[in-house]
């Protein structure tokens, strides 16, 4: 059932090398090189901080709102860009697939890996902003932050499962990328990225909880913003989501795997 995952792990050296290649190729030639991957989140943070300080009234229930927003947007950005990249990865790597004996799982894994690297490179910015806010007394960092890596690990597994399905389906169906892009836009607002779950009226909450990503974003905010332990229910949701995404993604991928090199 998890054959694609185990094959990916066997090829981890290749996945790592191709991921590095993605990053190096993207930033090579730029004067700032890898600094660009930090410049982007920094800019985002600056815009949020400005807008919610001077333009919009920030939410009263989460302060500083810019920091809350920043954490959520970084993580959601990883999910959405990884899935969009996965939808295109086989088309972009067609020659490699047709001309080498590389295992096709490697490509969705690289799509996820490259975006994960971007997220990890942005985390120091988040940490610095948090320390800055802490110095001004607006947040009080605590041990719960140590739960963030585990949350992200489960998220990566879930996203990899989805990336497997999306990448394999995109080989056969031209509209998968558009479909994914639209679903992601919808999900952006239907997931507590911009707001905490508590801000949603009671009667809509069951719907929100039904979204598997709600648990992930809640857990990210809990551990990295509110610094309170992630709720047991959220752990269960996340573990369950990761397992289901991996199982379904692997099943779809296995079914279409043989035709990927022919159709890509």
């Amino acid at each position: 059932m998890i054959a694609p995952l185990s094959r990916t792990l066997q090829q981890r050296a290749l996945v790592a090398a191709l991921t590095r290649r993605e990053l190096v190729a993207r930033y090579r030639g730029g004067v700032l090189g890898f600094l660009w991957s930090m410049a982007n989140p920094l800019l985002l943070l600056a815009v949020y901080a400005f807008v919610f300080q001077f333009v919009f009234a920030p939410r009263a229930d989460v302060r500083p709102y810019a920091l809350f927003l920043f954490a959520g947007v970084l993580v959601w950005g990883f999910v959405s860009s990884a899935l969009l990249d996965a939808a295109e990865t086989f088309r972009n790597n067609g020659p490699l697939l047709r001309k080498t004996t590389v295992a096709p799982e490697v490509f969705p894994a690289v799509a996820v890996g490259a975006r994960l690297a971007h997220l990890l490179l942005a985390l120091p910015v988040l940490a610095a902003a948090t320390l800055f806010a802490a110095a001004r007394g607006s947040v009080a960092p605590g041990r719960a932050a140590l739960e963030l890596p585990a949350v992200l690990a489960l998220l990566v597994l879930a996203v990899f499962g989805l990336a497997l399905a999306v990448s394999a389906l995109a080989v056969h169906f031209a509209d998968v990328r558009d479909l994914v892009a639209n679903l992601l836009t919808l999900a952006f607002f239907a997931t507590p990225v911009l707001y905490p779950v508590e801000a949603v009226p009671e009667r809509f909450r069951p719907w929100l909880r039904g979204n598997p990503f709600t648990a992930f974003l809640t857990a990210v905010h809990d551990s990295a913003f509110f610094f309170r332990p992630v709720a047991a229910a959220d752990w269960l949701w996340m573990a369950g989501t990761a397992a289901v995404c991996l199982a379904v993604g692997s099943a779809v991928f296995e079914r279409l795997r043989d035709s990927i090199a022919e159709e890509a």
């Binding site: 050296a13 290649r21 190096v24 090579r28 697939l97 001309k99 004996t101 056969h172 169906f173 031209a174």
Partner: protein, 411 residues
């Protein structure tokens, strides 16, 4: 000896989807019950049909055949890139496939980084790559450009690097698809040396090539694929000769049916006309296929509208790419014209046609002594010369090698 490659009853159908649905939409697939309609092809094109063969460990096998005969599909099946529709493919040991040199190169990153990625793609571990890195770079001869992005490489450099990596990945079975056509002579030579090294080390080599001379020189065995089926499988020289014959036959048929023979490049006043030009083999049979060293004759049937006292007959042979091989005429060979009237036959006899294997083009002419043509027929016929042994150039004389002192051949 144990079989390194075993192919049993393998067929491969490529699915062809309707033009308008070449990439279907998920929406339509979901509307028409998942995976049944949209995923089912409109037609299946057979690329290989019931192919079976075995390759022993340590054997070098060439695969020849026309474009679209299934050669590349066969290599992809052996490499495991595509699955057979039916039948089984077993390959024993570590495999490296060189289906396109530098297939994994990324233009933006350096040669150094590309070596690592390409090596991993070929199944090497990072340690193995590090250990052979120097050797790979030296073989490719790109020391100075190692840290430049590959997009700045010439195509020759990229090809050399691609081959160097594959050759040093130390596979048990190496699959090579027509990659030596690129690159210069010196490099092709080094590749061939590497292949020999491979053979001596008991590795298995399967390679697809349009270079028939190379196949018969390099491989002891060859497989000829014709429209997805094995047409011949045996000693390379035999298989190649059969394949050549078939190609020449088809080409000859095509030329005849297209009426090209009669009108291809004909100039002259028409005072005398070459009505037919025939090539005959040593047995006097008309043919387009000769064996190197065999006797041959060129026969010209000529008709003179009025009696002529000034005439020269000439025959020229060139390779199909235009390099002159032979040009003779009756005058240069010491025959002075007397009279030509009515119908006549002029025959040029060659006791031994010592041509290297290949395709040749023949011109025949009758003209005045000053050179003014009565009838000059350029490329009036083409013929093919085959030989047991490969040789480059156009001349393949009877020959033998001798060695004295401390030299010895094992076979």
């Amino acid at each position: 000896m144990e079989a390194a490659i075993r192919v049993v009853g393998v067929s491969k159908l490529y699915r062809r989807y309707g033009r308008r649905r070449s990439v279907g939409s998920l929406k339509s697939a979901l509307l028409s019950s998942w995976g049944s309609r949209a995923l089912s092809p409109d037609a299946a094109v057979p690329a290989l049909t019931e192919v079976s063969f075995e390759v022993a460990a340590g054997e070098s096998v060439g695969v020849v055949g026309a474009n679209g005969s299934g050669k590349s599909t066969l290599l992809k099946l052996l490499a495991g890139i595509v699955r057979p529709t039916s039948g089984r493919v077993d390959v024993l040991g570590r495999l490296a496939a060189l289906l396109e040199l530098g297939a994994g190169f990324h233009p933006e990153i350096s040669g150094r980084e590309n070596v690592e990625i390409n090596g991993l793609l070929l199944g090497m571990s990072r340690r193995e790559i590090a250990a052979r890195f120097e050797e790979i770079v030296r073989f490719a001869g790109i020391e100075e450009f190692l840290d430049a992005p590959v997009k700045t490489y010439s195509s020759g450099m990229a090809v050399r690097l691609g081959f160097a990596i594959a050759a040093h990945s130390d596979p048990d079975v190496l699959l090579v698809d027509e990659v030596l056509a690129v690159g210069d002579e010196a490099f092709a030579h080094r590749c061939l040396e590497k292949f020999s090294e491979f053979e001596r080390a008991g590795k298995t080599l399967v390679f697809v090539s349009h270079d028939l001379a190379l196949v018969s020189a390099r491989c002891r065995r060859a497989i000829w694929l014709d429209r997805g089926r094995i047409a011949s499988d045996g000693p390379a020289a035999e298989t190649v000769a059969r394949y050549r014959e078939s190609v020449a036959r088809e080409e000859g048929d095509a030329r005849l049916s297209a009426g090209l023979v009669a009108s291809a490049g004909r100039i002259g006043s028409g005072r005398a006309v070459l009505e037919a030009v025939r090539l005959r083999n040593g047995e006097g049979r008309e043919t387009r296929r000769l064996r190197s060293g065999e006797a041959a004759s060129v026969e010209m049937a000529v008709r003179a509208a009025e009696p002529l006292s000034d005439f020269v007959f000439g025959v020229a042979i060139a390779t199909v790419s235009g390099a002159p091989v032979l040009g003779v005429n009756t005058e240069a060979d010491g025959l002075l014209p007397g009279e030509l009237s009515g119908e006549a036959r002029v025959v040029l006899e060659i006791p031994a046609l010592d041509l290297a294997p290949g395709l040749y083009s023949l011109d025949a002419a009758v003209h005045a002594r000053g050179g003014a043509p009565y009838d000059y027929r350029r490329d009036v016929l083409r013929f093919e010369v085959s030989a047991e042994r490969a040789c480059l150039g156009v001349w393949s004389p009877k020959r033998r090698w001798r060695g004295e002192g401390g030299v010895r051949w094992s076979r």
